[in-house]
Amino acid sequence: MTDARTPDLERIDALMVESLIDGLDDVAQRELDTMLADAPVVERDGMKKVVAMIDQAWASDESAGELPASLRQQLSDDATRFFDAQPAARSIDADPHASFGPIVTRFARAGWYAAAASIVIAILGWWQVLAPRDGAERLTAQTMASFSRDHADSVSGDWTSSIPKYAKVEGELVWSDAEQTGYMRFVGLAANDPDREQYQLWIVDPDRDKHPIDGGVFDVPTSGEVIVPIDAKLIAKAPKVFAITKEQSGGVVVSAGPHILVAKIES
């Protein structure tokens, strides 16, 4: 029996190429993610692989030169912090293919990601895990509860606002230093038009830097309850405050504020 949901491979290719050259807005990314969920496995990363192979061909003929020594050292320091924050119970597999088993099993062994997120990941495929963008539509409050229960180091904070317009917004966040991820829940945050503006998360980690870490942009499709995964762009060693701003579509590198919502980590 054949699957009635025949994927539009031409449309997948068009969106894939767009994502690799220009990038996709959230609406197009969601369309691609949805189509890929029904596509044959080989279609999901085929075009990415082609472009990656071309990138290598041309990168080897570059004048950019070697990695700067200072950046090389920074990468090494970043890696040390990253792996220091990971669970210690890992071992090298004797079987080189052992880590290629079912993805949920790998997640469970490594313990790097929340179990609920792993289920979404297993459905979407490993290539989409690099930056799942439609998590807000798939996650539930139970995801956060499970995350807190499964990560002993998780911390939390409640959203508050000094701006009257946002004073009635409720919700909280959970975060794990070890996992370098977490989830945010909002109730009553106004839906945004992704083509005009997006919400952006900032993570304040005084131990790391005086500048807040970009936590990524996200959309609120409905003013009801939404759950958003946290995608920190750099390592947050011990964040103390999480803040939300509203920015132009795509986000900004440095925000002029204001912080419409703030969550202080409860000590």
């Binding site: 050259i21 990038g23 692989k49 472009v51 003929d61 070697e66 792996f83 080189p96 490993w126």
Partner: protein
Amino acid sequence: MDVDQQPLLNRVAAGDAEAVQLCIDRFGALVWSLARRLLGNAAEAEDAVQEIFIDIWRNASRYDARVASEKTFVAMIARRRIIDRRRRLGRAPEMETSELDRLSKPDETEWLSSVETTDEVSRAVDAIRQLKPDQQQLLRLAIHEGWTHQKIADHLQIPLGTVKTNVRRGLMRVRELLAANTVPGERTVTS
């Protein structure tokens, strides 16, 4: 299998500190090169490289040697991060007008003459060389130079839709050629 014979990324996933350093040494120049080329700004490129390597550490456990080489896996992560960053910044790399003019000439294809020719890279180079000159030019501008579809359309004075269609067809052709030259046992990149 001996630990040293395992793919670096599998060792990284297991927390092997030596493998992490080897990984930076082996893939650092590739990631740096992509970031410099596609972002065009050294400071932005440095931030991007840091983000990319964090992503590599996070995703190392998902590496599958049957799907792609480690370099290809790293390049896939790198491009995704760089394009995301560029979207956030809202710009494509800037170039002098003279450089734009030079890149707009379809006969400027010497960029393929001295590239590394091994494994997947060799196959990619061979595939690109089989494309028509105008297809090579579009792929060079879109992928190598990091131009957006719109920037290509504006500079070459070609309709945006035509640029998108021709870039996509060029990549599909490369994919077909790569699939026809697939190593036995390796997963193909097309259906």
